[in-house]
């Protein structure tokens, strides 16, 4: 197991380095960064000055090394637009996005896994159909519309929950539901399909032949096997929720990292984009790594590889 974890760690680091190269290369992807920073009316002397000031005249590997070294120490450069250090810009917003993302994935898992299990226990029954209906609706309803509906119902008509802002935990309830409900159907369907398949397995019959209770057969023997692909899916969903929550953040006026990403793209604010891409990629890598470890713990066959 230790060997497996070590190999995963090495893999994760290699992937992270590759991603850092790509996100560094972004600086040059849209032409000479010095010209972009200098603006439209700059003279060649201004541009040369900026090029020297920002260090763009050094060899590329040196620039990358320098950039990476600083990034590892939390120095992600200065935003061109806000004229503020990128780190101080990102951290508070990342907190908002992280809170939302974690709440949403927990909500999605808590909703989807039991629903999937129950649906699989009685395939084609009313319960199963109901679960399917909930799932299809989750996939079909656009997040912004569901968000607006919830605001109308719970904030305006009932007045139970705030419609926007980040002041208290109550502000996160509606966004969590909207974002989580978007992720839940895929998880539910995978759980249901996994359970249905596993329940046909010979070892489930063996477990029943041992005289185990139905509950033990279901939860100890079936769910553990069925949940393995769900773990991998949830990791990807989690990464997606952190980076792709911009719609939900806009609807509820939560100023999170997704919203910041959208702003910096529209303003061509390279250092911020670069830092966000790097951070989101690191989250993906981290959650995938976590999922790998969790799966290896669940399924011993994976450990030997």
């Amino acid at each position: 197991m230790l060997k497996y974890i070590l190999s995963r760690v090495v893999m994760a680091i290699l992937v992270a380095l590759t991603v850092s190269c790509i996100s560094f290369a972004l600086v040059y992807a849209s032409g000479d960064p010095a010209i972009a920073i200098a603006g439209e009316n700059a003279t060649p002397a201004d541009i040369a000055h900026i090029r020297h000031q920002f260090g763009f005249d050094r060899p590329v590997p040196v620039q990358y090394g320098d950039w990476l070294w600083k990034a590892l120490h939390g120095n992600l450069g200065v935003s061109h637009y806000f004229n503020q250090s990128v780190a101080s810009l990102i951290w508070p917003r990342l907190e908002v996005t992280m809170t939302l993302g974690l709440c949403a994935i927990v909500f999605a898992l808590v909703l989807a896994i039991p629903m999937g299990v129950i649906a699989a226990m009685r395939p084609n029954s009313i319960v199963d159909r109901l679960a399917l209906l909930i799932a299809v609706m989750g996939q079909a309803i656009p997040s912004f519309w569901l968000g607006l509906l919830l605001i109308v119902a719970f904030s305006i008509n009932l007045g139970w929950l705030p419609a926007s802002g980040t002041d208290s935990w109550q502000n996160f309830v509606l966004p969590t539901i909207v974002l989580g409900y978007y992720a839940a159907p895929a998880i539910m369907r995978l759980t249901r399909a996994g359970m249905l398949e596993v329940l046909q397995a010979d070892y489930i019959r063996t477990a029943r032949a041992k005289g185990l209770s139905r509950r033990k057969v279901m939860f100890k023997h079936a769910l553990r096997n069925a949940i393995i692909p769900v773990v991998s899916l949830a990791a990807v969903q989690m990464g997606f929720m952190l980076g792709g929550s911009v719609v939900v953040e806009s609807v509820f006026a939560l100023h999170g990292a997704g919203f910041l990403a959208w702003q910096s793209i529209s303003r061509n604010d390279l250092p911020v984009m670069q830092a966000l891409i790097l951070i989101f990629a690191m989250f993906y890598i981290f959650f995938t790594f976590l999922a790998d470890i969790l799966n290896a713990w669940l399924d011993p066959r994976l450990r030997g590889r």
Partner: protein, 542 residues
């Protein structure tokens, strides 16, 4: 007469509507007494497994017992609640399954899985449970019980896993053991050890054992009494001696008559015929490259293999799983690239043929695989699949169609089968279609890779007869890969015995089986079940 452990009276289990018959099992009655092995034999679909599942309360939801009773130690299990029945399962009655590879949960150690039985049915401390498990592992003769206890199923071989399942079944010392084809998926030497274990269990523990099998050799090896089933009904039952040697029901007689004899069907072989296939120094090793975390590994799957086959001869290739039989076949057809050696078909060395020209020579060697269900494309008609080969080689469609009709007649199927889809045929029919498909391109060599292993004994007999007819009619050269020495003895002229990628013995089949030279051949032969039993000559006309 001793008290019965299990007494099934007029059991009927309904099939869902739309099945080919109304009942999976109909009016079945049988008894199992302590200290007795009762074998239920029958072909696939005869209802023998359904009977054991009904007793264990493990029937699929679609099947329901509709009449009769299953009395276990005097109480009718069909009338019990699910929880009540569960209290007996794994406790007073236990079951051993066919597929040891999938019968254990991959996520838990085997020690854990055996312990679960004690957790469910006994009140024992943790250390006491553990001690009992270790004792059980010793009883089923697993080496190094301490290590096995902490192993996961995927770290054990098929035979070892089956021993784990048996240990699990024995945990609470049940009075009734049900075994559903427990040795079918195992190699013959492992099978022998497991069969011996069943005999020992009967003697030492005095349990009643209901043993479901399709193999009459296994019946001959262990049965005290035999129940023969056909299409859900018991057609004959009696002592092993009666049923095996003096069967009375026509179906039993037909089944026993279909068991291959241990002697070769007499026929002429032309020792002077030209050599059809010559294999020289064939080598294939599988390399697992070194990674950051594990060293490189090399397994020699085919090691320096030499043999020749004459035109019209049938060469058997026998050996246990992992002996390299299948890799050898794949190398011969260059489905896998061998690393060294030569494969001469006529004057052409297949291994030196350019990839582009290979197609023309592939036509010379055709193959019939083990699984008749997986070998045909379910979405295309039989005709389409048969025509694909010859039309690829430029034969006009009309001509190929004529050929397909002729072959359908040869494999004893109707012409209109060409318009139908694979799912409309039984396993035996499909295998005949696969043979026809292989013959469509008029190969000079036909390889049968365990081609009859998945078939019921009576169907197996049909296919073997068909292969013999085709061989005589077309002068076909055949390579017959099998793990079943009875089948090999009947159809092959000569044989090579493989172990770990090497040929350990080769020669005319009569000589090799009568006077084996190699240690491994002797081991294989002595592990054959049912050696004391000669198939009686019943004079049944097939």
């Amino acid at each position: 007469m001793a008290e019965t452990v299990l007494s099934i009276r007029n059991l009927t289990v309904d099939l869902p509507e739309g099945a080919d018959r109304p009942h999976a099992v109909e009016g079945l009655s049988l008894d199992v007494r302590p200290n007795e092995i009762v074998c239920i034999v029958g072909e696939s679909g005869s209802g023998k497994s359904i009977t054991s599942f009904a007793t264990m309360g493990l029937l699929p939801a679609a099947l329901r017992p509709s009449a009769g009773e299953v009395l276990f130690e005097g109480a009718d299990v069909l009338k019990m609640s699910e929880a009540g029945h569960a209290r007996l399962r794994g406790n007073r009655m236990a079951m051993i399954f066919q597929e040891p590879m999938s019968a254990l949960n991959p996520c838990y150690t085997v020690g854990d899985q055996i312990e679960e039985v004690f957790e469910t049915h006994a009140t024992l401390s943790r250390s006491a449970r553990r001690k009992r498990v270790i004792a059980l592992l010793e009883e089923v003769r697993l080496p190094d019980p301490e290590r096995i206890y902490h192993s996961f199923p995927h770290q054990l071989s098929g035979g070892q896993r089956q021993r784990i399942v048996i240990a699990m079944a024995l945990a609470m010392d049940p009075t009734l053991l049900i075994a559903d084809e427990p040795t079918t998926a195992l190699d013959v030497t492992t099978q022998m050890q497991i069969l011996k274990m069943f005999r020992r269990l009967k003697e030492e523990r005095g349990a009643g054992i209901m043993f479901v099998t399709h193999d009459f050799d296994v019946v001959a090896e262990i049965a005290d009494r035999v129940v023969v089933m056909q299409k859900g009904r018991v057609v004959e039952q009696g002592t092993a001696e009666e049923v095996l040697n003096h069967p009375t029901h026509p179906y039993t007689r037909q089944l026993i008559d279909a068991v291959p004899r241990r002697t070769r069907a007499a026929r002429e072989t032309d020792a002077g015929a030209e050599i059809a296939l010559r294999v020289q120094g064939l080598e294939k090793a599988f390399h697992t490259p070194r990674t950051l975390f594990s060293p490189a590994r090399t397994v020699r799957a085919v090691a320096n293999v030499d043999f020749t086959v004459r035109r019209g001869e049938t060469l058997g290739i026998v050996g246990e799983s992992g002996s390299g039989k299948s890799t050898l076949v794949r190398c011969l057809m260059r489905l896998t690239e061998p690393e060294d050696g030569a494969v001469w078909v006529g004057n052409q060395n297949l291994l030196e043929t350019q990839r582009g020209n290979l197609r023309a020579y592939r036509k010379e060697i055709q193959i019939v695989f083990q699984d008749p269900y997986g070998s045909l494309n379910p979405r295309r008609t039989i005709g389409d699949q048969l025509l694909e080969g010859p039309t690829n080689f430029g034969v006009p469609r009309a001509e190929a169609w004529e050929k397909a009709r002729e072959l359908m007649r040869i494999v004893k199927l109707n012409d209109e089968a060409l318009y139908r889809y694979p799912n409309q045929f039984s396993g035996g029919q499909r295998q005949r279609i696969c043979i026809a498909r292989a013959l469509m391109v008029e190969p000079s060599i036909l390889i049968a890779d365990e081609a009859v292993s998945a078939l019921d004994v009576s169907v197996q007999k049909e296919v073997l007869t068909l292969l013999r007819e085709i061989r005589e009619r077309m002068g076909l050269t055949m390579l017959f890969i099998t793990h079943d020495l009875r089948v090999a003895a009947q159809v092959c002229d000569s044989v090579i015995v493989m172990e770990k990628g090497r040929i350990v013995e080769s020669g005319p089949i009569d000589r090799v089986f009568a006077e084996p030279q190699a240690e491994y051949t002797r081991k294989l032969l002595s592990a054959q079940p049912g050696q004391g039993w000669e198939v009686p000559d019943l004079g049944v006309t097939a």
